[in-house]
Symmetry: C2
Subunit: 352 residues, 2 copies
């Protein structure tokens, strides 16, 4: 299926939405993007799986990565796209084919930007990290991601959201001894022992550190609790799964040390972890970008792939059309005006 | 298959064990029991499903029920029976074909007992209460269970265990409001709210009331806890399933009122309840029985079908060979000496 990059960004968003691309099913949209970029002639295009990298090579002093994932969460009776007033509705309109459309339009219509650009359109962002196209690229071809700055076009309400908080999930397990509940004095109850874990969560005061002028807000929350053997048995084990969202001034190692501190005396097993990303607004390229797009910037609380750039030493921000709270919702949508404003501001920065 | 009631009680136990009778598969053993009792001539035999009632009708001043269930939990590589030294091993040796054998021997060899006897051999004790043969009989033919006293031949280590504690399971549910765990201040965490439920369980001081000279021991225990929506979501609901074991001086209504008192402020749903049974040792027939079998008596902590007799106004005790802690275990077994002593003592009481 051909993709016409000469249409406007709103129309291009709609065209992209109408190529269904649920995670693991990105071949069609990746083909369309690859061919359209190949046809342009001024970009070096590389494809790895269903991830496409397209680079200018103009010898500019600075290089910026502009990236977006091309997959979506599963279809939920929200295709094809539907335009209503100033809103485009449908799967992927918000998360994040609006941003992808802007990046593709920029690739097509700005052959000589004032900075070299590496466009990355990648697969499998919505599923397990091991399949994530950006992650795989960072392992196999880190040189393709070398840059002074990166813009991830995730929905951010058309305002720059800088850095991102890290996330760690630990299982905190209490132990007991089984016994028949009719003779409970013969055992000890692991669920009762979890009262202490939950009390520590209730008493916990999350930090709100200010970094590069942005106030982050940490959080420590039980997300699962499980325990029990049978309706007449004292359970010998109870597990509280705790999600720690930590600000970018903490590494994963520091976050884990903190978990050991908070849950001292209990068994802890880490079963998921991803680093935070510093906002990096003190880097000249980042500061210039924020200035160019109006100076407004907010901290990013949720985890995004900007953290992958951070690991590579590339400061990165989120900047894209769409309300991030609408991501993954059946009713996701994007205001056409945000697609237009983000494109205009990005373009102005690359033409200045 | 014929059942020879002239063999000794140990041999009869072994013969009964070797007729596999997992719950819902009691037809063969029920047939054998029915025919053997019919052949005796001095008993009126009634069959309802796989439950058999056999009664003397000698016009005695007093009538006693002697009851036992004929089903077992599922086979677990523990058939056929195996005799080793003074122990009989195998499925049902302890729970409770030793007791059933003693009752059958008594039926066969004591045509003129000093009290009228109603023997009850019933199905489906090990599964959902609705299938329980004694329960069904108590609904459809309560007149067949009329008596001054009942002996349930459940394993009790050959000592009288009087009454039984009641049991109630209630779900205590806390509520919250979902939010993404990266923005936890936008919601409220139902698992954290369960800290209060668990603290009340930890602070709870179970009663130890003395009834008819026996000290009972209550217990209040979480047996399950569940909560959680996704690894990055604050849960809006958490349920602690609590099992209350209550002494025979409390009715189910009083037990439930007590749960509302303990968990005031939380939603409570009852999902299982069974009444306690008073030891009833002040009733002359019961006191005489205890005296006849040696005077030793202990409170019964676990729930048994004696509670069904209690509901019918018939005082009842547990008295049978086998360690109750071995019931339902792969390695269940019974000491031959206990089969012999229980039979001897029961017989002496019925012949005195």
């Amino acid at each position: 299926m051909g993709l016409d990059l000469t249409v406007d960004a709103v129309q291009l968003t709609e065209d992209l939405v109408n190529i269904e691309s649920v995670s693991r099913n990105e071949a069609a949209i990746a083909d369309a993007i690859e061919h359209a970029l190949d046809d342009l002639g001024h970009l070096t295009v590389v494809r790895l799986g269903n991830t496409i990298v397209a680079r200018t090579d103009l010898g500019r002093d600075e290089r910026v990565v502009i990236a977006g994932h091309i997959d979506t969460v599963p279809v939920n009776d929200n295709l094809p796209a539907r335009r209503e007033g100033g809103i485009l509705h449908g799967l992927g309109t918000c998360d994040m084919k609006g941003g992808v459309a802007i990046a593709l339009r920029t690739a097509a219509t700005l052959p000589e930007p004032n900075r070299d650009i590496t466009f990355v359109f990648y697969e499998c962002e919505e599923i397990e990290a091991e399949h994530n196209g950006l992650y795989k690229l960072s392992l196999s071809h880190p040189e393709l991601l070398e840059a002074d700055f990166a813009i991830l076009m995730e929905p951010s309400d058309a305002i720059v959201e800088a850095g991102c908080q890290g996330t760690m999930r630990v299982d905190v397990t209490t132990r007991g001894e089984r016994a028949h509940s009719a003779r409970s004095w013969m055992g000890s109850n692991a669920i009762h022992a979890a009262a202490d874990v939950l009390s520590r969560l209730n008493d916990y005061e999350p930090r709100r550190p200010v970094i590069d002028g942005l106030e982050y807000r940490e959080g420590l929350n039980a997300v699962y609790v499980t325990g029990g053997v049978a309706g007449n048995v004292l359970p010998d084990s109870c597990t509280v799964s705790v999600n720690y969202r930590f600000a970018p001034d903490r590494s994963e190692e520091e976050a884990l040390a903190h978990m050991h501190e908070v849950f001292e005396g209990f068994d802890i097993v880490v079963n998921d972890t991803a680093p935070a990303a510093m906002p990096g607004l003190s880097v000249p390229a980042a500061a210039a970008f924020v200035e160019a797009v109006g100076g407004q910037v907010k901290p990013k609380f949720g985890w995004t792939d900007v953290a992958r750039f951070s690991v590579l030493g590339v400061p990165a921000v989120n900047f894209g059309p769409g309300d991030p709270h609408l991501a993954h919702k059946q009713e996701e949508h994007v205001p056409l005006a945000q697609i237009e404003s983000v494109e205009r501001e990005l373009r102005a920065w690359l033409e200045a």
